[in-house]
């Protein structure tokens, strides 16, 4: 009795596509110049931060954390950073499905933390919600039509998230204005994580 899981996403991508096309006529930036002069630490050549787990099972220095019961497991999310760059906001977070004592070697489906999947990216469902200005940020996309990719971690949904192991993920969003100090990070299955501070 499953329905196609395309609710909203297609429309939204169409909207994004149009906005992108309009913008493309006005602005065209080449190279990585958007990173310079806009503040924000250079995340390094790999872009991937080093994650260290603390004794409590959470990421050391996490700026927000949430644990939610889910299907007899628990899902734990640690937000590592939410950083504003010149034209981009990057969210880095660590997900860890907890077996919570269940006698299982199962894993959680690869779309668990991302909602709808686009080819090449499975975090399109992870959003930033600015409740003050009533704006909702979805991950940036590259390409168009069938060749649309999410500017976010690529997950092989056939292998899933292993239990009790941390997985580090990222997603890039349009830049949040300087006036915005915090947003709500909305994750499928986990729900909203309010009051996540934006750093520059």
């Amino acid at each position: 009795m499953w329905r196609a899981v395309t609710r909203g996403t297609r429309t939204r991508l169409a909207v994004l596509g149009l906005a992108g096309a309009v913008a493309a006529m006005a602005v065209s930036t080449t190279g990585c110049s958007l990173l310079s002069g806009g503040g924000g630490a250079d995340p390094g050549t790999s872009g991937r931060p080093k994650i260290e787990m603390g004794a409590d099972g959470h990421v050391k220095g996490a700026i927000a954390t949430a644990t939610t019961p889910y299907q007899g497991y628990k899902v734990q999310v640690d937000v590592v950073s939410l950083t504003r760059y010149d034209k981009v906001t990057r969210l880095v977070f660590v997900v860890k499905p907890l077996s919570a004592g269940a006698d299982t070697t199962d894993d959680l489906d690869g779309t668990t933390f991302g909602g709808d999947s686009l080819s090449g990216g499975n975090l399109t469902g992870v959003e930033l919600l600015d409740t003050k200005n009533l704006k909702d940020y979805v991950p940036l996309t590259a390409g168009s039509g069938d060749k649309t990719y999410c500017a976010c971690s690529t997950i092989d949904s056939s292998s899933g998230f292993p239990l009790d192991q941390p997985t580090t993920l990222y997603a890039d969003y349009p830049a949040v204005p300087d006036s915005v100090d915090e947003v709500t990070v909305v994750l499928p299955k986990v729900g909203p994580i309010p009051h996540v501070k934006v750093s520059s």
Binding site: R7, T9, R48, G72, G120, L134, K135, G191
Partner: protein, 371 residues
């Protein structure tokens, strides 16, 4: 179903072209995720081709006003004399008044569209009812005046529909339920639009309909352990393929976040027969098991006193209130598995500190405090 309205052309948008950063040195903790990350805002994803693509995107403006409406409560009911579309008098009138309130028009429009959808023709009776408070004579007179007010308002809306209207009032004579509580009295105060339809085939929606009226409070659980952290719970026995699945919905709270209110809920299967796993959680929020067109979430937040209803703004594509997805083993689940869910609603303009949450398959969770 997410409902949102796109930002206008003034929305911030950007287009970037950028070459992906060199590959990462660190190993991925999980083998299923790409180890290579680009610089923020750089092109990412067409890894196989390593071909730069422009990146674009803009925030979407939420439109809370589009989700705020007068409270509409038109129930499909059975009255003396036939089927009825019944509206609580409290929704149409102020206390002891026969003058239609600001909410009336939206409710009467709903009645009109329901009459048309059911292809009703011929005589339609408008019958006013009161509870047993006050004198019989006064109640009789009030019910007649109220029916007449509805008759007058409906008359224009039903021109050339083949329907003739006849209004009457019966006071407190025909209660739907005993006048033994405030909730029951409220249910008895009503205006019934009684009709006969020549069409014998039930609407195609009916066989899929699992919704209960908004005026019906959710059934409180009994004989099961209380849900941890819930401020309200409701249970529902649902017949699925001739077997009964016992479901519980827990409301964890209503939280105001600036101009929005977030409802946090959990769905839970208390029992299900055999080895089957129930996979229709999403339907509990749409009120329909129709596999084709049942997709819209019809949960509502409402201010019963000020008669405003708030429609979902963001529901996380149903993932949070449902196990929608493919047939992967992660998507159906056994007894005891809690599923968290949330719905963002616009905050009411009435300033109410207590609101009611309606979930179609369970009914209303009334007077919940807003944190």
């Amino acid at each position: 179903m997410r409902r949102r309205t796109a930002a206008g052309a003034t929305a911030v948008a950007l287009t970037l072209t950028c070459v992906a950063a060199p590959s990462a040195r660190a190993e991925s903790p999980s083998p299923n995720v790409n180890a290579k990350w680009p610089s923020p805002g750089a092109n990412v994803s067409d890894w196989k081709k390593e071909k730069p693509l422009p990146i674009s995107g803009a925030p979407v403006s939420l439109q809370p006003d589009a989700g705020r409406h007068p409270l509409v409560v038109v129930e499909n009911d059975q009255e003396k004399g036939g089927k009825s579309f019944t509206i609580p008098a409290d929704v149409l009138f102020d206390t002891d008044s026969a003058k239609l309130s600001g909410n009336a028009n939206a409710n009467l429009n709903e009645v009109v569209s329901k009459l048309k959808a059911a292809s009703v023709t011929g005589q339609v009776k408008i019958i006013g009812h009161t509870d047993d408070t006050g004198s019989k004579a006064h109640n009789l007179s009030l019910s007649k005046q109220r029916a007449q007010a509805v008759d007058t308002a409906l008359y224009d809306k039903l021109r050339s529909s083949g329907i003739t209207l006849k209004s009457s009032g019966v006071g407190e004579k025909d209660p739907l339920v005993k006048n033994d509580s405030a909730a029951h009295r409220a249910r008895n105060r009503r205006v019934a639009i009684v009709y006969n339809t020549s069409s014998t085939n039930t609407s195609s929606d009916d066989q899929y309909d699992i919704s209960v009226p908004l005026t019906q409070p959710a059934t409180k659980p009994s004989g099961v352990p209380p849900a941890t952290g819930a401020i309200a719970s409701g249970v529902r026995d649902l017949s699925v393929d001739n077997e009964t699945v016992k479901l519980r919905l827990n409301v964890l709270g209503l939280t105001k976040q600036d101009g929005l209110i977030r409802a946090d809920v959990q769905t839970e299967v208390l029992s299900q027969p055999g080895t089957n796993t129930y996979s229709g959680i999403y339907d509990l929020f749409t009120g329909s098991t129709d596999p084709i067109s049942g997709g819209q979430i019809k949960a509502l937040l409402y201010d019963a006193g000020k008669k405003q209803q708030l429609e979902p703004l963001i529901t996380g594509k149903g993932d949070q209130v449902a196990d929608i997805g493919d047939s992967g083993d992660g998507e159906s689940y056994g007894t005891g598995g809690l599923r968290p869910g949330y719905i963002y609603f616009p905050a009411p303009t009435t300033g109410a500190t207590k609101l009611s949450l309606y979930v179609p398959a369970f009914g209303s969770f009334e007077n919940l405090p807003v944190k």
